[in-house]
C-alpha cells in the first residue's frame, strides 16, 4: 500500500514484539491442538493423554465401518443443508419484505433481528419449553385448532426430532441472512427499478434481472458462511436433544464429543474430527470457486 518505506529503526522489534502474544496464544491454543488431533487420529489414545501407540489407519477404518458414523454423516447433511436452505430462502424473503418502506418498519426490523441477538441458551430453552409434548404451547395450539388430533412428540421422537432442531436453528439464524441481504439490497440504485418500470418490466422480471444478479455474490457468501458454521454447530443440537432420541440428531460434531468424552476414545474421535475437517475444506473450496465464478460473470 505504501509506495515508500517509512519504517523507523526500532520498527522491526516493535512488530515482532507486538505480535508475540497473539502468535503465542494462537499457536499454543489453536495450532498445536489441531496438529495433535491429526496425530492422535493415527494412534490409540485415551482421554487426558495426548499420545499413544501408533495404529495406522485403524481408527479411520473403524469409523467408516461404524453405522453410527454414517448416521451422523447423514444427520449432518440433513441438518446443514436443511437449515441453510430454509435460512437463505426465508432470509431473502424477509429481507425483501423489510426493504420496502412501510410504517413501523424500524420496529419490525428490531423484532425480526432479535432471535440472532439472543443468547443461544435462551433460544434453546424457550423452544424446548414450547415444544414440550405435554405442557408446550405448540401442541396446545395445534390441538385446540384441530390441526392435529394427538400431540406430536417433536423432540422426543426420532421421526420429528431433526425437523424440530432445524426449525429452531432456522429461527435463530435467519436474521443473520436478513441483515446480510438487506445490506446489499440497499446498495442497488433505485433508478434501475424506475427505468425498468417505465420500460414495462413486471415485478418478477425486475427481481430476476436487477435484484438477483446484484445480490448474488453476497447471497452466496452468506450461504457459504452459514454452511460452514452449521457444519461445526454443537451447542444448539446437543442442548436440545443430546444427540437423540436414538441418535436421530447426532451430527458429526456431537459424535466427536461423545466418542471423546463419553467413550473416552480420543483416537477414534480424532479420526472423525479429521474427516469432518476434510469435508469442510472441500466445501469451502467449492464454494470459493462458485463465488469467484459468479463475480467474474458480474464484471
Amino acid at each position: 500500500m505504501a509506495a515508500y518505506n517509512t519504517n523507523q529503526p526500532g520498527d522491526r522489534l516493535f512488530a515482532y514484539l507486538t505480535l508475540t502474544p497473539a502468535a503465542f496464544l494462537v499457536v499454543l491454543l489453536v495450532l498445536v491442538p489441531s496438529i495433535v488431533v491429526v496425530v492422535n487420529s493415527f494412534q490409540s489414545v485415551g482421554l487426558g493423554a495426548t499420545s499413544g501407540p501408533f495404529v495406522g489407519f485403524d481408527n479411520y477404518q473403524n469409523a467408516l465401518a461404524d453405522s453410527t458414523f454414517f448416521m451422523a454423516l447423514r444427520n449432518t447433511f440433513v441438518w446443514v443443508f436443511g437449515s441453510v436452505a430454509f435460512e437463505m430462502l426465508l432470509g431473502l424473503g424477509v429481507a425483501l419484505m423489510l426493504h420496502r418502506s412501510f410504517k413501523g418498519r424500524g420496529l419490525a426490523r428490531v423484532i425480526v433481528l432479535t432471535p440472532y441477538l439472543l443468547p443461544t441458551i435462551v433460544a434453546i430453552l424457550v423452544w424446548r419449553y414450547m415444544f414440550n409434548d405435554l405442557v408446550g404451547i405448540v401442541n396446545a395450539l395445534l390441538l385446540q385448532t384441530g390441526i392435529i388430533s394427538r400431540p406430536i412428540l417433536w423432540l422426543n421422537s426420532p421421526d420429528t426430532a431433526m425437523m424440530t432442531v432445524i426449525l429452531v436453528g432456522t429461527w435463530k439464524y435467519t436474521p443473520f441472512v436478513v441483515i446480510a441481504i438487506l445490506g446489499i439490497l440497499q446498495s442497488i440504485p433505485q433508478e434501475q427499478y424506475e427505468a425498468a418500470t417505465i420500460d414495462g418490466a413486471s415485478q418478477w422480471q425486475q427481481f430476476w434481472r436487477i435484484t438477483l444478479p446484484h445480490i448474488l455474490p453476497v447471497f452466496l457468501l452468506t450461504a457459504l458462511l452459514r454452511t460452514i458454521w452449521a457444519f461445526q454447530k454443537f451447542d444448539i443440537i446437543y442442548i436440545l436433544t443430546g444427540g437423540g432420541p436414538l441418535d436421530a440428531t447426532t451430527t458429526l460434531p456431537i459424535l466427536i464429543y461423545l466418542k471423546a468424552f463419553v467413550d473416552f476414545d480420543v483416537g477414534r474421535a480424532a479420526a472423525v474430527a479429521v474427516i469432518l475437517m476434510i469435508m469442510l475444506l472441500i466445501l469451502i473450496g467449492s464454494y470459493a470457486l462458485l463465488i469467484r465464478r459468479s463475480e467474474e460473470k458480474h464484471d
Partner: protein, 297 residues
C-alpha cells in the same frame, strides 16, 4: 407510483377506483404478511415473558393456559435464592469481559503491526490465523482439554478466558488490520517526526481514531465468549464455576429439580441484559459518529 396508472381512459374514474382497490388490497396483504412474520418470530419471546410470571403449578398444566391466572414473581426470587444463577451470571460476565479486553488489547496492537509493516513472516502469520479461525471447536477441544489440565487450569475461568481469546484472535486481527489500513499513515508519521516513539504514536494518534472499529469487534468478541458452550462444558465442572450457557443447559435436563419457571425467569433476564448491551453499544456508536462529524472530520 400512481402516475403511470392515471392515464386517459374512456372509463375515466372507474379505472382509477379499480386501481385504488387493487393497490390497497396489495398493501393490506403486505401488512398482513409483515404482521405474520413479526408475530411468528416474536411469539416465542412474548411467550417466554408471559410464562415467567406463572406459578410452577400453572406451568405444568396440560393443556397450558395463555395468561397467568395468578401472576407471581416467585420464579425471579427463587432464581437467586435457591440456585446458583447468580454465580452463572457473574461467571459469564467475567469470562466475556476478560476475553474482550484481552483479545482487543493483544489483538489491536498486533493488528496495527500487521497493517503497517511488511517484515518476514507477518503476512504468513495473518494467513495462518485465518486458517485457524476456520477450524471447528470440536476439532481442537480434545487436546485443549489435556493442555488445560497440564497448565493446572482445570475447572477455572482462566481456562475459558484464554481459550476464548485465542479463538477470537483471528477475528480481531483481520478486522482491526483492515480498519487500521483505512487510517492514514501520515498522521502517525507526523507524530514520529515530532519525536514520538512508534508505540506512543500508536497509542496517542492511531488508536483513538480506531475506537469505532474496536467497539464493533469488541461486541463480536463479547458475544462469542458469552454464548460459548463447548469449552465451558468441558473445562468447568464445579457448579459455582459454570457460566450461563452450561448452567442453564444442565437445568433443562434436570426438570424435576429446577422448574421451567425459574428457567424462563433466567431467560427473560438474559434477554433483557443482552438487549440492554446492544442498545448501549448502538448508542455509543451513534454518539461517536456524531462527535466525529462535529469535529469536522
Amino acid at each position: 407510483m400512481t402516475d403511470a396508472t392515471t392515464f386517459a381512459h374512456p372509463a375515466g374514474s372507474r379505472v382509477r377506483d379499480a386501481d385504488w382497490l387493487y393497490t390497497t388490497t396489495k398493501r393490506a396483504m403486505f401488512y398482513i404478511l409483515v404482521l405474520t412474520v413479526v408475530g411468528l418470530v416474536g411469539f416465542p419471546l412474548l411467550w417466554m415473558l408471559i410464562s415467567s410470571f406463572k406459578t410452577a403449578a400453572e406451568l405444568y398444566q396440560s393443556p397450558p393456559t395463555f395468561l397467568p391466572s395468578q401472576a407471581t414473581i416467585e420464579n425471579y426470587t427463587e432464581l437467586y435464592w435457591q440456585s446458583n444463577f447468580g454465580f452463572y451470571l457473574l461467571n459469564s460476565i467475567i469470562v466475556a469481559t476478560a476475553t474482550t479486553v484481552l483479545a482487543l488489547g493483544i489483538g489491536s496492537i498486533a493488528a496495527y503491526s500487521l497493517s503497517r509493516f511488511d517484515f518476514a513472516g507477518l503476512n504468513a502469520f495473518a494467513g495462518l490465523t485465518l486458517v485457524c479461525y476456520m477450524l471447528p471447536e470440536v476439532l481442537i477441544v480434545i487436546p485443549l482439554y489435556s493442555i488445560v489440565i497440564w497448565l493446572g487450569l482445570a475447572d477455572t475461568l482462566y481456562a475459558l478466558i484464554l481459550t476464548n481469546t485465542a479463538m477470537a484472535m483471528p477475528l480481531v486481527l483481520w478486522f482491526m488490520r483492515a480498519y487500521f489500513r483505512s487510517v492514514p499513515r501520515a498522521l502517525e508519521e507526523c507524530a514520529i517526526i515530532d519525536g514520538c516513539t512508534r508505540f506512543m504514536a500508536f497509542r496517542k494518534v492511531t488508536l483513538p481514531l480506531a475506537v469505532p472499529g474496536l467497539v464493533s469487534v469488541g461486541m463480536l468478541c463479547f458475544n462469542m465468549a458469552y454464548n460459548e458452550y463447548l469449552f465451558a462444558l468441558i473445562f468447568t465442572s464445579t457448579d459455582t464455576k459454570k457460566v450461563l450457557s452450561v448452567g442453564l443447559a444442565t437445568w433443562i435436563n434436570q426438570e424435576n429439580i429446577y422448574s421451567w419457571g425459574m428457567l424462563l425467569a433466567g431467560a427473560v433476564q438474559l434477554t433483557l441484559f443482552a438487549m440492554a448491551l446492544y442498545w448501549i453499544v448502538q448508542r455509543s456508536i451513534a454518539a461517536g459518529r456524531l462527535q466525529g462529524s462535529l469535529q469536522g472530520e
